[in-house]
Symmetry: C2
Subunit: 426 residues, 2 copies
């Protein structure tokens, strides 16, 4: 690994805190990922990406900036990467997956707030996230109350915060609002980049984004097999890196991994033995390095075969149709695509439940673990009706509500083991 | 008090639970309100209303229903009473101010949820709120995440749940959405009542609602005097009864109270001695019988002189302009009026801060107590920047976050006393 100290220092990082973070992150990664058996060779690329997540990838961002490209950071799958790529921007997800510097976050935010939001602030206030420091624009979005209001607090801490308004219902008026907001976001991107969005540029950006999504959809599809050719942890990692990596290189690497996994499926080879208990995860997004629950599940005798999550199929299952010969028509297609995302911030949100059931069947799962981040009202409230409906449909559900600490790991393990016993006894 | 047992039974109330509730409520009311010294005579009317809150008032609702009028229950100041009155409906706020039957509520809702929402469910599930049982339509609204998602859970429990969508930003698109939603709500009310909204009917409804708001604005204005002619508890009670009572009788009674208070102001007579420390409350709504914090404040040597709250000036400070000669023009005026409400669900929400400062000055307060319900992200997140801005402007702030239990009463009293010492020492 090269010495990136100068780059980090130039970005204004707190080098001591950042070193400590990288050391903890590296140790956790080794313990959780390298200890897995029968990993596909293709995961080596993603191991490398993770080892260079604050190094080489940041250098690439800095090189892009030196070439006049803009880095656009965001925290949500409602921010359309197509539009960012259409102005030759670099789209990056921002750090929000670890309990780091919560003491500082809690000086400006309430304690009783979602850990993902507190994490974003902890990283920013501790100056240890090179992505946010490298971002020319940080894009917020009015999804949940916590994020919506926290962006007001974040605004003075970053160079340029831009907030996308979102509807709360899947009505015609809601779609009109989303389309108008994406049109405004296009204008913002054009202004900040000095580049005009063209039909050709936008089509190409949609193709790039669709290819990336198609690759992870291909990966998801391979997990139908028993034995599962890849662990849930590794598949989650790919879905997490989806938000950080260069999209073209990422797509090539995921497809190479899929080629290998197809061979595994043919050969009946898996990351876990055949007939290992299969579970589906559903709920809140798991940002890097939020691996706690998947690690517990997969060290308790089960394999995760799908993620109904923003970091998973909720974020990637829909492609953007390339239709029309005007930017406005392509914008309509983009609006169509994003308006399908069935995040729990919408009311009502019936397609999410349908999707969980489809995935349960498609991936031959035997139970669903509903994962909520603590204090996330959209998902914690929705989890009640979701559990009731699934159980009525004969699908066993374990509802977990947790944060980013390790304090409840033992308790979660006990509950997961009991749940696995329950579904294995059926 | 008459025997309402048959009426309650007909409404499907759980008589045993309801008796227990009324007994606790009556005891709390006596302890908190009747123990106050130097109460205005005009409060006798409101004492009577409270003593008959589940009795005579419910009988009036039942009589109105027997005459073919509809009872429309709601939980939010974004539900326009003007429109309800325009179809000769009866608008009532629904019970959500007490920790009752939370065990049941927590079987369908997460524990980490705002007490106001859990209270609404506790009352409904325990069948002790005659208002919700008498409601022909229960109107929800997409304000905060908790309520938005909880209405999905409430829908199958009530006869007819109707949800008004709300914008999250004060943009042109946001206003378009609100107007369209109010137009739909008009249609809903016309359908359910079988009455057409006419220009004359709507103008009359606006006049009735404006008169009611003008009366409480007059009451608020009288609290500028030192000594304050009325306690904060009594003024809060009037603002709470605002949501339940017959609007015309309420207006007459508030104006009679104000006539008396004008005499008190002339005579230099107050509910507390002159120079009693004056504080302003700001934050979440306090529904009946949520009197905990005001009671603590006013038994600790201070007087509350204003409420920047939905149950207070945020809900009542704006009148609806009566302009135009078409229903659509009046609807525009109604939209204008409601779009001003500076609830923390909006982002950004700068006018709220301006209003707190104006009230602080107008009512000659010496400190602001910021009141948040636990887990209410809109207000708990907004409270940080509000406190920082007020303190920078030289306005002392005490931030409280609490629920409906009495467990923290001692701790709150200690903090309130320390805060009063701080502001008295300035």
């Amino acid at each position: 690994m090269s010495d990136y100290t100068q780059m980090w220092s130039d970005l204004g990082l707190d080098l001591k805190g950042h070193d400590a973070l990288l050391s903890i992150l590296g140790g956790a990664y080794r313990d959780i990922f390298h200890s897995q058996k029968d990993r596909p060779e293709g995961m080596k690329y993603f191991d490398f990406v993770m080892s260079e997540v604050h190094g080489l990838r940041i250098k690439e961002l800095m090189d892009a900036k030196a070439q006049g490209r803009k880095v656009i950071g965001s925290y949500c799958v409602f921010v359309p990467e197509e539009l960012i790529l259409a102005v030759e921007g670099v789209s990056v997800g921002l750090c929000a997956g670890a309990e780091f510097n919560f003491e500082a976050a809690e000086t400006v935010l309430p304690r009783n707030l979602c850990p993902l939001i507190k994490s974003a602030f902890g990283f920013k206030q501790g100056r240890v996230c090179p992505y946010v420091e490298a971002s020319d624009v940080v894009v917020g979005e009015n999804t949940c109350d916590g994020k919506k209001k926290a962006y007001e607090v974040l605004a003075p801490m970053v160079k340029d915060l831009y907030v996308i308004d979102l509807p709360q219902m899947k009505s015609d008026a809601g779609k009109d609002l989303l389309r108008a907001e994406y049109r405004k976001f296009m204008k913002k991107l054009e202004d900040v980049s000095g580049r005009k969005i063209t039909v050709a540029g936008l089509k190409s950006a949609i193709e790039t984004t669709n290819a990336k999504r198609s690759a992870v959809k291909r990966l998801a599809d391979l997990r139908k097999s028993d034995p599962a050719p890849i662990s849930g942890l590794d598949a989650l990692l790919v879905n997490q890196i989806f938000f950080y990596d260069d999209p073209v290189r990422f797509t090539v690497s995921v497809n190479a991994l899929c080629d290998e996994l197809e061979g595994r499926v043919r050969d009946g080879k898996g990351a876990f033995p055949k007939k290992t208990t299969r579970v589906l995860m559903s709920g809140c997004p798991m940002a890097v390095p939020n691996w706690k629950v998947p690690m517990i599940v997969e060290t308790s005798g089960a394999v995760i075969v799908g993620e109904e999550s923003c970091v998973g199929e909720r974020g990637t299952q829909w492609l953007t149709e390339i239709k029309g010969d005007a930017v406005e028509e392509l914008l309509e297609a983009i609006t169509d695509r994003y308006f399908k995302i069935d995040c729990a911030v919408f009311t009502p949100n019936p397609s999410r439940l349908d999707h969980v059931k489809e995935m349960y069947k498609k991936y031959r799962a035997r139970g669903v673990i509903h994962y909520s981040l603590q204090f996330c009202s959209p998902y914690t409230v929705e989890s009640g009706p979701v559990e009731a409906d699934l159980e009525t449909s004969g699908i066993p559900v374990l509802r977990l509500e947790t944060d980013y600490s390790q304090e409840d790991a033992g308790q979660i393990k006990t509950r997961v083991e009991a749940f696995l016993e329950r579904i294995e006894a059926r």
